[in-house]
């Protein structure tokens, strides 16, 4: 709770931004300083993903975790970005200098609202106590264990609840402890404020040249002010970071389907890998995303499916070391108790499970009117003549709702209908991914509906 802790966090996040900028410069390049500034949010989240993945792999192979180790890891990733700049030159798009143009009135107005909102969020998180059960029961204890013992301590990582959850978030939290100078669980909330800011900046930066500010900002604002996001986005646990990784991966994937820039798919794959290493639900989210991308690109399947397959395999490959680590210690809990076929012994559960999920998805007190607007956006885009975006949206949202229902169906210890308090309700956490995703996908759907086709910006975006 000191200025030193805040400065430490600022330094860590500057490093994460630096890593992301170096890697994005290699993958995509920047046309100008303004272009780099616009994509700095995406670069930051990419930096978080890359450093999180690298630290996880280091922990699994037993490299001692320390402040110097984190700094060296960041330096190595920056160096990798610089070294890969030339070999990847052929991949990068020919970027046109951006057309001159200042901030629009709409952009400026929403910018002010955003600053006020993020400032209020910062003040609320700055001195917040660690109250969420999951946070003090295992996420932060795992981070403390990494901080104090310099690695995946056998005792804590096997005895704490949910031992199969990957250590990406604890590794990032432990990095924050090192930069703050102590395991300060109060100021730790500010790290999650940085994640939230990075996500908002990433969505805005990615979509600003593609979607009218009049469409983009109201959708982003609605997602940000939904009660669940306001109340829980700074909890030092994995849910919202997973949602950020997943939502950006999903947006980049659909942009790749429309624009076919290699950096978009590579970035999506990295973010998906980070999502898979953030929480076990990441696997379900990734599966839904891949299927949605395959279905939406079926007309051009010879070109798209192999690439989507390779991107998905790369993301999954990043999780193999962690899976080997926990499998070698006979840790269980990754899959539902009923198993895959055992599901069919509980055929009384699918319908109540589906209804429970649907009830949470359309819960006004959690997500306001986001889900109905997304549904309307999909319909309008279809009617207008767009195909890729609404198909992608329909399949992705539909599969995720079915996937969440499967979770409730297969975890037979959960009583149905499921009406647990939202603070501890796993379905509420799962559906958060849909709301966060909507911040990026709803503006694209509405833009497609308005213009009557997918990605009308293709020629002018970059």
């Amino acid at each position: 709770m000191t200025v030193r802790a805040l400065l430490g966090l600022a330094a860590l996040n500057a490093l994460l931004l630096g890593v992301g900028l170096a890697v994005l410069a290699a993958l995509r390049g920047f046309a100008s300083f303004r272009d780099a500034l616009r994509l700095s949010g995406l670069a930051y989240v990419l930096g978080v993903a890359l450093v999180g993945i690298a630290l996880t792999l280091e922990l699994v192979v037993g490299i001692p975790f320390s402040l110097a180790g984190v700094v060296l890891t960041c330096a190595a990733l920056v160096a990798a970005g610089v070294i890969l700049r030339n070999p990847l030159a052929g991949w990068r798009p020919q970027l046109q200098p951006e057309r001159p143009g200042g901030l629009t009135l709409v952009g400026a107005a929403f910018g002010v609202l955003l600053v006020v909102y993020l400032e209020a969020l910062f003040r609320a998180g700055r001195l917040a106590a660690l109250s969420a059960w999951d946070a003090w029961a295992f996420w932060v204890p795992k981070a403390k264990a990494i901080y104090f013992f310099g690695g995946l301590d056998e005792q804590f990582f096997t005895e704490l609840p949910n031992p199969t959850y990957p250590p990406l978030v604890p590794a990032l939290e432990a990095s924050a402890f090192h930069f703050m100078g102590s395991p300060d669980v109060v100021t730790l909330h500010v790290q999650f404020w940085f994640f939230a800011c990075g996500f908002v900046a990433a969505v805005a930066g990615l979509l600003a040249p593609r979607v009218s500010a009049l469409v983009l900002w109201p959708c982003v604002l609605l997602a940000l002010v939904s009660p669940r996001v306001v109340g829980r986005s700074l909890d030092p646990q994995a849910d919202f970071l997973l949602d950020y990784f997943f939502a950006l991966a999903a947006v980049l994937t659909v942009l790749w389907l429309l624009e076919r820039r290699p950096w978009q798919l590579v970035s999506a794959s990295l973010l998906l890998g980070a999502a898979l290493l953030t929480k076990r639900e990441g696997l379900l989210f990734a599966a839904c995303l891949v299927v949605a991308a395959l279905v939406a690109s079926r007309r051009d399947w010879r070109r798209t499916w192999p690439r989507i397959g390779v991107a998905a395999l790369c993301a999954v490959a990043l999780t193999v070391p962690w899976r080997l680590w926990f499998s070698s210690r006979d840790l269980a809990g990754e899959l539902p108790e009923a198993g895959f076929l055992g599901l069919f012994d509980h055929l009384d559960r699918p319908w109540p499970a589906f209804r429970s999920v649907l009830g949470v998805v359309v819960d006004y007190d959690l997500w306001l009117v986001l889900p109905p607007l997304v549904a309307l956006g999909v319909v309008l885009a279809f009617v207008a003549g767009a195909r890729v975006l609404p198909t992608y949206g329909l399949v992705l949202y539909g599969l995720m709702i079915l996937g969440f229902s499967w979770v409730l169906w297969s975890f037979v210890e959960i009583e149905l209908p499921f009406v647990q308090d939202e603070g501890v309700n796993p379905v509420v956490r799962l559906t958060g991914s849909l709301a966060v995703l909507s911040a990026g996908l709803l503006p694209l759907l509405l833009d497609a509906a308005w213009h009557g086709r997918d990605g009308r910006w293709q020629e002018e975006a970059e």
């Binding site: 709770m1 609202l113 006020v116 909102y117 209020a120 969020l121 003040r123 609320a124 700055r126 001195l127 917040a128 106590a129 660690l130 109250s131 969420a132 059960w133 946070a135 003090w136 029961a137 932060v140 204890p141 403390k144 264990a145 104090f148 013992f149 005792q155 804590f156 005895e159 704490l160 609840p161 395991p183 669980v185 109060v186 009049l214 469409v215 109201p218 959708c219 604002l221 609605l222 940000l224 002010v225 939904s226 009660p227 306001v230 109340g231 306001l368 009117v369 607007l373 309307l376 956006g377 319909v379 309008l380 009617v383 207008a384 003549g385 709803l442 509405l446 509906a449 308005w450 009557g452």
Partner: protein, 169 residues
């Protein structure tokens, strides 16, 4: 000239469509739908923006008014009966030692969460000290002291059934 200007303005009224065209199927209706979505998102966004900023301001005030102990205990406030016990444990048990929390029903003022979760909270709070079944340090949190035997020596007794001590073997 004036008429043409007015017409230009009308034609730009909404996305290059005249009002009459907005009712044409499907282009006009779809655009009306998009406008509706944006207006709804904007209206709810602005109303809930005010509420969100209010709520976050209240949260910030509440958090800043909390004392250091309440802030440090966080979720533990709902299950820890006497904070001094854990502070004493943290002060007295060396960082490289092990400890064992023995919960029981004999704590005055315990909540329904105290007995099932106090050991988990202690593990979070007392780290890097490790919990161990054969630990010398015992935090008796409402346990039956008779079961600990004669080798148990209380180092700190806060009353109300919470005792910190060592077990001599």
């Amino acid at each position: 000239m004036t008429e043409r200007r007015a017409s230009d303005v009308t034609s730009r009224w909404i996305g290059g469509l005249r009002p009459a065209e907005l009712l044409e199927w499907p282009g006009g209706i779809v655009r009306l739908g998009v406008v509706l979505c944006v207006v709804v998102a904007l209206a709810f966004g602005l109303v809930y923006f005010v509420r969100a900023v209010d709520r976050l301001g209240d949260d910030a005030t509440r958090h800043s008014e909390a004392n250091f102990d309440d802030r440090e205990f966080g979720g533990g406030n709902s299950l820890v009966v006497d904070k001094r016990a854990l502070y004493e444990a943290r002060a007295l048990i060396p960082e490289d030692e092990t400890y064992r929390v023995i919960p029981g029903p004999g704590v005055e003022g315990a909540t329904e969460l105290t007995e099932p979760y106090i050991d988990q909270f202690a593990r979070y709070f007392l780290m890097p000290r490790r919990p161990a079944l054969d630990a010398r340090w015992i935090l008796c949190y409402g346990c039956d002291r008779a079961e600990l035997g004669d080798g148990f020596q209380a180092v700190w007794d806060g009353g109300g059934g919470i005792v910190l001590g060592t077990l001599e073997r």
